[in-house]
Amino acid sequence: MDFAIFLVQCLNAVQYGLLLFLVASGLTLIFGILGVINLAHGSFYMIGAYLAYALAPWVAAHLGGGFFTALAIGLMLSVAFGYLLEWGFVSYLYERDHLQQVLMTYGLILVFEELRSILVGDDVHGVAPPAWLAGSVPLGHVMTYPVYRLFMSGVCVAVALGLYAIIARTRLGMAIRAGATNREMAQSLGVDIRLLYRIVFAAGVTLAVFAGMIAAPVSSVYPGMGNQVLIISFVVVVIGGIGSIRGALLASLLVGFADTFGKVFIPQTAGILVYVLMAAILLWRPEGLFRTG
């Protein structure tokens, strides 16, 4: 492998890792702060991708905007959706044990998959990226790199910085951290925990839907797409330390590199390499790289 190819592979790894981060960040928020194991997180990703597919023609017909108008509408819908879901289902899970959480959120997966099948069908669909991002930049003389992938990475970095700023620097972030550390204490100090949790859950859902919408032009839209993402996201959350945004970012990049170079150098073990990495890190640090709360 010459150096130029090596650099391209590094770019592939970073780019894949950043996309993973976008999905996993919502999962780690919900898991770390609310203490809920949310198996339906992959479904939110899938819903995002299908929203990008379904909203595009509607937006073009009624509003005249493109991909980003659809994105904005999708995000508004997902905030409302996450809020309602927390109110209707998840808020009953905080005091229950993990088994009941798993049962409930697994049930949600089945419901969402079936609804998807009824509403949109089981076909595979493509989503067009916005025209000005549809091109490619040359990398060497054989390969080109799609501009949209680079754009996606930029968006992921922006989201990572934004999340970090909110959690570390704002009053809301402080309340979230307090709520995660000690629910009762935060409540007695005047933090409206119920509202706070609702906001966090809605934010988690929105992050997953956002990831799905952003990824749709690259990943295409197909049944069962959420389940694959769900498993790898849990790996990221566990490696990074439950509830840690910083950990999720580092873990995503680690997984991105392990997956990319695993496929290239040791394809026979590519399927398990990421899990070996997880096991090794857990042996070294049972709580993950960064543990909060």
């Binding site: 089981d122 390969m143 590519a270």
Partner: protein, 389 residues
């Protein structure tokens, strides 16, 4: 004691009635068991197969071999772990004479095992797993579709003829992908090329970027890819987005572009693939089939509908030879073996291992169609290594 005896008598009587009922049923109607996916990702395929089958039966006035049919259905959910239970429902509970199924290769492997053990007649209307007509082959197991090896071999031959000397292959690391690549290698060898790099990734991973970079670094003359469904869409699009399609032609079996062209859009235009069916075949049989199918089901037929239709044709050939007496199994099997099936895909016969010996078409993606370009290989038979019958 008397109570017990009367209970025993009643059970005996009931059992006797059952036997009579079953006997009478077998006299009047042939019992056909569909074991197909009716839910899940492959639901559309299962429905197309059954529609195709029923269309042929309808053409024959609702009869095969002069006898009326009775249908039994089990949804296999494309779930290998439930396959044995599901096929036993048809064989033991419903006492079917024939099982028709299925789409998923993993499910079909389990079905073939049970069919072999119970000596039940099985017609496979899709799943291309080579082992079923290879080491597991049996007199009572037929296939109306293809083996994974066939389209791969044809594509290899065409790639070599088009000047590809060094080729890279890429697929998911699972049986269907391995079998398809094996076929491609055999075909490419026959026309003077060789595979210089075999890339794989775990099923159903769709993160191709690292391997596309590997392809760019290898600079092969061509690439052969085996993926299906969402993976096929994503791979073809990623390949084009990486700019590789401008310098390195991408070849594949028909599954790479069948039913996915709307999603693949511009990325798939001009691609060459091989399959035993294509759009725009100039065959009267195909035209009639397409017209009848569209009329009956208000949707266009696809390759799966053709395979279902031909499953019924093959059974008809067998049933007709024994005048509907399915108990005369040996003659029935011999009749199917020697049948010439007038399929919408073109005429085909069956190989010693009971796979179709068929023309594999070269197709080109134009718009939303896989238009036929010509015949890639005439009357191609899978050599079916390991089959002893």
């Amino acid at each position: 004691m008397t109570v017990r005896r009367s209970a025993l008598a009643r059970v005996t009587l009931a059992a006797a009635l059952c036997v009579v009922a079953v006997g009478a049923g077998a006299q009047s109607r042939i019992r056909i068991g569909f074991m197909l996916p009716y839910t899940g990702t492959y639901a559309a395929l299962g429905t197309a197969i059954e529609n195709g089958f029923r269309l042929y039966v309808q053409e024959k006035g609702g009869k095969l071999g002069g006898r009326e049919l009775e249908y039994f259905k089990v949804d296999d959910e494309s779930e290998p772990s439930k396959a044995v239970d599901n096929i036993n429902k048809l064989i033991k509970r419903d006492n079917v004479d024939v099982v028709v199924g299925t789409v998923h290769s993993g499910v079909v492997m389990a079905m073939a095992k049970v069919a072999k053990d119970t000596n039940t007649l099985l017609v496979i209307p899709n799943a291309g797993a080579r082992a079923v007509t290879g080491p597991m082959c049996a007199p009572n197991i037929f296939r109306s579709s293809f083996s994974n090896w066939q389209p791969g071999y044809a594509m290899g031959k065409v790639a070599g003829e088009r000047g590809a000397k060094k080729v890279a292959t890429i697929t998911w690391k699972y049986a269907a992908g391995d079998e398809s690549v094996e076929g491609f290698k055999d075909g490419l060898k026959a026309s003077g090329g060789e595979v210089v790099k075999e890339l794989t990734l775990p099923f159903p991973n769709v993160e191709f970027q690292a391997l596309l970079t590997e392809i760019a670094a290898t600079k092969p003359d061509a690439v052969y890819a085996f993926f299906a469904g969402g993976g096929a869409v994503k791979f073809v699009k990623d390949y084009a987005a990486a700019g590789l399609n401008r310098t390195i032609p991408l070849y594949g079996p028909g599954f790479l572009t069948d039913g996915t062209l709307e999603a693949q859009g511009a990325a798939a235009q001009g691609m060459l693939t091989t399959l035993h069916y294509a759009d725009g075949l100039d065959l009267p049989k195909d035209k009639a089939f397409r017209a009848d199918y569209s009329k009956a089901y208000k949707t266009n037929p696809d390759v799966y509908a053709v395979q279902g239709y031909d499953a019924a044709q093959m059974l008809d050939a067998g049933f007709t030879a024994v005048k509907g007496d399915v108990a005369r199994r040996k003659e029935l099997v011999a009749a199917i073996e020697s049948a010439h099936i007038d399929s919408p895909r073109g005429m085909f016969t069956l190989s010693k291992s009971h796979d179709p010996v068929q023309d594999i078409y070269l197709r080109k993606v134009i718009g939303n169609e896989n238009r036929v370009e010509g015949v890639a290989v005439k009357a191609l038979a899978d050599p079916s290594p390991g089959c002893r019958m």
